[in-house]
Symmetry: D5
Subunit: 91 residues, 10 copies
């Protein structure tokens, strides 16, 4: 099933650049893995914000949670999840 | 997977009693069927309101939608759905 | 550019079935055209509601508006549009 | 009577791992006790968040408060409680 | 247990005066009964509105719902209920 | 006149226990004085929160403010006040 | 004591002009009386809306309610009241 | 001074086409006049909605209100106004 | 033109008393000047909060901003401004 | 295409004056560049706040994001973006 996932990244502004870079690199690497696993299907940036909208596919909400929690930035992210139903037009 | 479902019944106050009774009877009968099918697991009333909180189980959001839309009162109900993840304590 | 579009269908409950069916058929036909034109890329149902989340692509907000306004149900739809930015991971 | 209880865990990200682990272990142990006492009946995770939805049973709101306040994480939790009425279908 | 109950009276402005007067009289009579039964303990008006704040006592939320639903104006009232816990200072 | 007063206590979690205990003791002592002065008439706890709902009586909003500001916890409390009108049923 | 009072006038657009004019004239006449009685001290229009912000003085919320309810437009007005405290700078 | 003005057009869907066309023509004609008077400086459509964002210039809020109220669609428009201050960069 | 101005004072609780007293004295002195200049016309306290509602008069929003920004507490204040239109009854 | 952009500047009050001045100077310099590039078309201050409303033009949301993120104050700014459609009156 598919989920619409919004994230706001709340990493403090005064985080050392090295820590920030390391987190960003890890985030990008893990995202690539989630894409290859078919879990992360699309990702957009909310313009003007350190925030994203993503389209995810997972077996159920618990599997989605595990995928999101595997992202290195997860402890600093405010995440909201919306479960979407297949539309009859796409069945 | 399990869903928390809130409903507000917006049937107009001036609906004829006969129509209302028929809808209520149909609603109750369909709810019994959903319980027997294991889809409707618990139902509570929000005190003071013509509103409910329900715990549903369905294969996915589309199956849940079909179950909710099968209720005779559905056209007058404002429904919000929240997909819940199994908690590690209950795995 | 891509847009996330939410719609709530507010067609009155007491709309005659014939009118409703005609509108639905027209809506579906127009949606097919928008898909074929590459404007409507994905469509989901919000479970429990007569509502959708859609992913659209259009040259600019005015072109998107024209596409949405071409849907037969548009006069009864409450629509909100969010412009999304390409994420660096997908550039 | 039954209550729907939402919690958001606001423990700071920079809490030392040892403190965090100790709190989590204590939380889990206390939750087991509340389950055995028939107070905590179901617990779900809100996907994507360090948050839960729980179904509790207690004699009254004061007894529920005491149960929630006995959780080691309570000082860091933002909790909202909703008292539910038995639905006529379940009487 | 005690509940804080808010009501907004949504009776249409164009309700005939006779109907309105009859409803008001019935409302007042039923309120007197609820006071005598110890269920309605205090009632205030929200200044500027056709709205009230009330302090009720009932065995549980279902009993409170039945009391509120027994008011003749109930079908036109938007009601919200908050369950209150005894404060340690008043135990 | 009577006021409905809501408080949320925002005292930081890491406040030393001695400071916290002293504040709590002072709070309770001052509350007793406000009760004896007929200003604090009832106090409830919002279940699950470090929050209260109170029924106060004071000559006017300025007198109420002075009473609330005399509580030792006041600097850490988020307070909202609602002025209530006597209901015709209670005149 | 002084109150800040907001009103939104919800008189239906299709109200006959004669009814509307009569209500407006009565509203203005009653407002003059409330000014002369020292109850209505200032009145502003919210630009772009059929809405006002007013500064009222009344003995208590019940007296304010009676003054507001004496306005001919009252049945169509959505009113919110905020009780203000004298500021120490103006004592 | 400049104002940001948002409008939502709430003209009922079932308004006869002739009435609607007449109102639209009048609206457009009056908007041209407001542009020529230097009051309406820019106008945008909110994509997906029968709504606009406009940049207006008027001597004060009362003059802006009169300009907005002169639009034929005004009785059906929900309007919100925000007064903007000149930014130091543009002084 | 007149403005309704709300302020919430967010000065941290742990600000040294000397700093706080100095700020308060400066605030009061500057407020007196703004009153004498005819800019600050009325000031109320929001009961239970470190917050005010004020009635200001200034040539335009930029002049109002400068007046507000001249208050020593301004860097800690959360301020919202509403431009009011003269009401026809007061013209 | 044009965007309405709101910013709230959350730079901490206790930021050293030198840092603040340097950021402000950089912000102003970068804003001049964005104006010269035709990206920043208008800028207003929200009266009473360290906040702005801006009218921007950019090829798409990603280009707008890059422009906003190039401002030295960006890490401390809370930004919301609204994509506007050309209004038929201005085509």
């Amino acid at each position: 099933m598919e989920f619409l996932v919004r994230t706001e990244n709340l990493l403090p502004v005064d985080t050392p650049a090295a820590t920030r870079d390391e987190l960003k690199a890890g985030e990008r690497a893990r995202a690539v893995e989630l894409r290859e696993a078919g879990i992360l299907k699309r990702l957009w940036r909310v313009p003007g914000r350190n925030a994203t909208v993503g389209l995810y596919e997972a077996e159920d909400p618990a599997a989605l949670h595990d995928a999101l929690a595997s992202l290195p930035m997860f402890p600093w992210m405010d995440v909201t999840v919306e479960a979407l139903a297949t539309h009859p037009q796409e069945r």
